[in-house]
Symmetry: C2
Subunit: 276 residues, 2 copies
């Protein structure tokens, strides 16, 4: 593992690291914020999965999570959103290929060789994190924005026991019924829609949901409401009596100005669950 | 004046606007955060002047000031750091020309035509702000980072009565004794060093200082300590009994991770002065 940079930040360290991943078959870069407490003992870990077009860097510099994570003594990891580099397939569209891994393991050409972000986030990156850093493997929580909210919700529901809590900022909530989903799931997983269902938060919610609390924030002025389909997930959460909150935030859009505004509430939500 | 974007943020609005400036002879872009209170009545204004290579955007997205400004009901303006566009002189170096206006009125070719950032920040931009937005002209404070800290300190000391308080993050503190200063002051103002003295915070501090409180934060691991010369300004502040604090922050470098860590303390400092 290679250290790209380390900056002191809110009494802790904001690092950027690179490591080879077997899952993606290429080097992967991630950001990790460690609060001051990590110099003394292992700390809980909050995963932040980013949205379309993002690298590890966007949320790390714009979401303002470190202030809140430091206040609660929680680490935050900022993974990349896709494999990258020479030899890694790509597409001219912003919403397919590099920057748009959609947190699945691709089975279709030309994607199958590297686009295994599910495996990377749930297996390879945890191995690196818990081997090299003072992090508590049995105290993890997960959140994400947009495509990353989709990743957070699907991972939390499909890996029971791993995450104490899950939240999302304007998640892609029902990808099987949206152009943010049908296009990518078709490309990465092929035409058999039965293989897509494991990657649809609304369907997973209808079929069992999450064992802990769920927190969703969604801006009412989000320019992508038709693609995100918050209505489908909110309906599923209430119909299945999922504990948690789905909050429509008046006037907010899809930007990091929205994410940073509610970052404190999400970190507090997770810190409370992790303290149980 | 043209609205480039407006995003809801911490209950208020983060806007980006463009307007023609007579001082710089070109269109200028700035960011303005208005807290929720500005919808009801005029609010105090904190100026944030940015450093080398920055536009209006860097601090607006990375410094995390809006959270604290919203908590205190204070607006924050994020000006650009130089004139820009076709016909505006530039230099291949990162520290001269576009992105490096140094908050002076250039008198030398090829800079004199557009590089009048002192006039822009102290005259043109205030006219636009107080004409178009709910801001209290008699309640202003100023801060900045690096080259912007230099700008904030020199403007606060040379415009008595305008700013209730001044602070800086890792300011260029003694440009007449630094390669971050001699090069730019020479290029913009010419070889007569007598004209440079009005733009050196350490000299201004020695010759009267600031009538209110001054707050400076400087990281001990800043990679540019030799260029910033915090020692000269700290010496001047104590020798002249300037009220205020010069804080050396252990382990912090020159990045926005440093600025964002102490952004809350600076906004609180200014809010207190503005409330008097």
């Amino acid at each position: 593992m290679e250290t790209i940079s380390e900056n002191r930040c809110f009494g802790g360290v904001q690092g950027v690291y690179r490591h080879p991943s077997k899952a993606t078959g290429c080097d992967m870069t991630f950001g990790l914020f460690l609060p001051a407490e990590a110099a003394q003992h292992p700390v809980p870990l909050l995963w932040y999965l980013s949205g379309l077009t993002c690298t590890h860097e966007n949320a790390m510099t714009k979401a303002g999570l470190q202030a809140h994570a430091a206040a609660h003594g929680v680490a935050v990891v900022f993974p990349d959103t896709s494999p990258r580099g020479e030899g890694v397939a790509d597409d001219p569209a912003y919403d397919l290929g590099q920057g748009a891994g959609f947190y699945v393991n691709a089975t279709q050409a030309p994607w199958a060789a590297h686009y295994r972000m599910w495996e990377y986030i749930t297996h390879d990156l945890p191995r690196v994190l818990f081997a090299y850093f003072a992090l508590e493997e049995d105290r993890q929580a997960i959140t994400g924005h947009s495509m990353g909210g989709h990743g957070a919700l699907t991972m939390a529901m499909r890996l029971p026991g791993r995450f104490a809590s899950v939240s999302a900022f304007a998640p892609i909530a029902h990808p099987m019924a949206s152009d943010w989903g049908r296009k990518q799931l078709g490309a990465y997983l092929g035409p058999d829609e039965a293989t897509w269902a494991a990657h649809d938060a609304t369907l997973l919610m209808r079929n069992g949901g999450f064992e802990g609390e769920v927190l969703i924030d969604q801006g009412t002025s989000d320019q992508f409401l038709d693609l995100l389909r918050p209505d489908a997930l909110a309906q599923a959460m209430t119909a299945t009596r999922q504990p948690g909150s789905f909050r429509m935030q008046k006037g907010y859009d899809h930007s990091y100005f929205f994410v940073s505004t509610f970052a404190g509430a999400h970190v507090s939500f997770h810190a409370e669950a992790l303290a149980r």
